[in-house]
Amino acid sequence: MSRIVGSPLPRSTRLLLGAVPIAILVIVYGALSYQRHLENPMDRLMPTVEQLWRGLGEITTADRRSGEVWLWVDTRASLVRLAKGMGAGVGLAIVLGVLTGIFSTLRALFLPLVTALAKVPPLALLPIVFIFLGVDESSKIVLIALGIAPTLTSDIVLAAAGVPREMVVKGYTLGATTSEVVAKVILPQIMPRILDSIRLTIGPAWIFLIAAEAISAESGLGYRIYVVQRQLAMNIILPYVVWIAILGVAMDLGLQALSRWLYPWAATKGH
């Protein structure tokens, strides 16, 4: 057994190792579905690779009736909701979190409430949101925002409160006003950490999106999965699930790249 402390693996080795479990998963699935179809050609639970391919073709070509390509329509609808919801949640969390993190009075005032709200499962709020806002787009966006804002806020509170007091004092001695200290000393320093926190909320945001779409929508990735579930169309559900995974990973990598590009100093280590 190797020691925990060791030199980092070369990039090529890391990528190769990461691909191994995925390859095994695909191979095992292929073998299992083949096996099942030998026993029962009508099996619907584990479509063969060929059936999956046909399913993929079905969702990426224009529908005969509406002329729409399901995958694109659903992806666009879902991503727009996700962007609006996460944008609102992140904006709310940054304003609330930075202010609460910096000013101890505001912290005493709001932190208990935020902590309590963070403990409420957002899906329990879904009926309330539906009752107040109806079942259209705004309720889905609000659910995502409400779902991610509390945890993100407490994360940002910690980050803002964690900026050494010395730096704040230093800012003042260099002639900064309080708003300049916030805008030029505290906020830029915690931005990389905020981006990291946002990356972690991508998962929860998808949960709330799919949940809201499953209950009421005319389009969206979650909507489609739940609709075709009635026909047990696994050959459509599985490509959708894989597609959601790809989108999630892409968002994560995108935010990582953004962070490296905007805040190169956060990645620089000592020599």
Binding site: E166, M167, V169, K170, T173, L174, K184, Q189, M191, A266
Partner: protein, 357 residues
């Protein structure tokens, strides 16, 4: 001793009158250059604490110009975890005229960093008052620059951006930089960069202007921090154990850097350290804070007082550290300030006895 006290009280009264005159708009007498006068003050080294501390250089009348820093009967306490309060500073009385390099030293827990925070304004004293150039200290402000031991630099800015941080805030309105960038870049920004590079050259870091602080060694970071504070031309530069985390060689080099900056730029420095040798070397006036003192009846006192306030042998070379004068002073401070078994009765060194009121 009594004569000495009376004399000083008179001097205080004259100073008070001069201040009143200055307030009334009359022309205040011009202060004698404190550095010249400092040269005439005997460097302490004799065995009699009363003579050495009886006339602390800073406590003299300075002709109506408010001292750059003045602590009047300052006491400070912190809540104890077990309830009640712990007195940290006990009736500190202190005056710092211009162009003095005052180094504060004392055993750990004596409250020297607390004193620095009170001077800085990041904490307010429990009792007494702190004034800077005659104005009550309420908040950290740009007339008092600071260099901390750690977290002195902003990690999100390059070395140059760190140094010109204060200049960029100065005299520009919100978003001016961004909205008028094509012009701003060729006027304000260019001037700031030139000035920043000049300061970086004085600390020999101009080659590293575009690196981030994390890419520099600890000693280099502190040099940037010194440039960053000095570029704002503060009336007084406060330093809180600035070289405490550095290795001995780097430390000595930085001591020379700051002594040179002091000599060349005529600044006033308030330097807090736990290293006695460093304190005696960099400062031209040494202030020893200690919690080891007794009342008249022999009972132990609470909170730290100034137990010694003397001139230091001044030199811009590290050779002075080997001189007998230097070593004697260190021995004396070690005995009077740092040895818990050698507790002086407060009467022999209580500087506040001579204070007005």
């Amino acid at each position: 001793m009594a004569d000495e006290d009376a004399k000083r009280r008179i001097e205080e009264r004259i100073a008070e009158a001069a201040r009143a005159a200055a307030r009334d708009g009359k022309r205040a007498p011009i202060a004698v250059d404190p550095v010249v006068r400092a040269g005439s003050v005997e460097a302490a080294g004799d065995g009699d604490p009363a003579t050495a501390t009886g006339a602390p250089p800073g406590a003299r009348s300075d002709g109506g110009v408010p001292p750059i820093l003045e602590c009047t009967h300052v006491s400070h306490r912190y809540p104890r975890q077990t309830g009640g309060f712990q007195l940290v500073l006990n009736d500190i009385h202190l005056r710092v005229p211009q162009r003095e390099f005052i180094s504060v030293v004392g055993p750990s827990g004596c409250g020297k960093s607390t004193l620095l925070r009170l001077v800085l304004g990041s904490e307010l004293p429990w009792q007494g008052s702190v004034t800077a150039s005659g104005v009550a200290v309420d908040h950290p402000r740009r007339d008092r620059g600071i260099v901390f031991q750690r977290y002195s630099l902003f990690p999100h800015l390059t070395v140059l951006q760190n140094v010109i941080f204060g200049l960029e805030l100065d005299g520009t309105w919100l978003l001016q930089k961004w909205l008028t960038w094509p012009i701003y870049r060729r006027t304000h920004y260019r001037r700031q960069v030139e000035q920043g590079m000049a300061y970086l050259r004085t600390v020999k870091l101009d080659e590293h202007a575009n690196k981030y602080p994390q890419q520099l060694s600890g000693g280099m970071q502190q040099r940037v921090a010194i440039a960053q504070a000095l570029i704002m031309k503060p009336r007084i530069l406060l330093m809180d154990e600035p070289f405490g985390a550095l290795d001995p060689g780097t430390r000595e080099a930085l001591q020379l850097t700051i002594v040179e900056a002091f000599a060349e730029q005529g600044i006033t420095v308030f330097f807090v350290t736990h290293d006695l040798e460093e304190a005696v070397f960099v400062g031209n006036r040494l202030l020893v804070l200690s919690q080891f003192w007794t009342h008249d009846d022999g009972s132990s006192g609470e909170g730290a007082k100034v137990v010694l306030d003397v001139r230091c042998p001044k030199s811009t070379s590290v050779d002075v550290k080997a001189s007998s004068e230097f070593q004697e002073l260190i021995q004396r401070v070690r005995r009077d300030g740092f040895d818990p078994n050698h507790q002086q009765p407060v009467r022999t060194f209580d500087l506040s006895a001579a204070a007005p009121g």
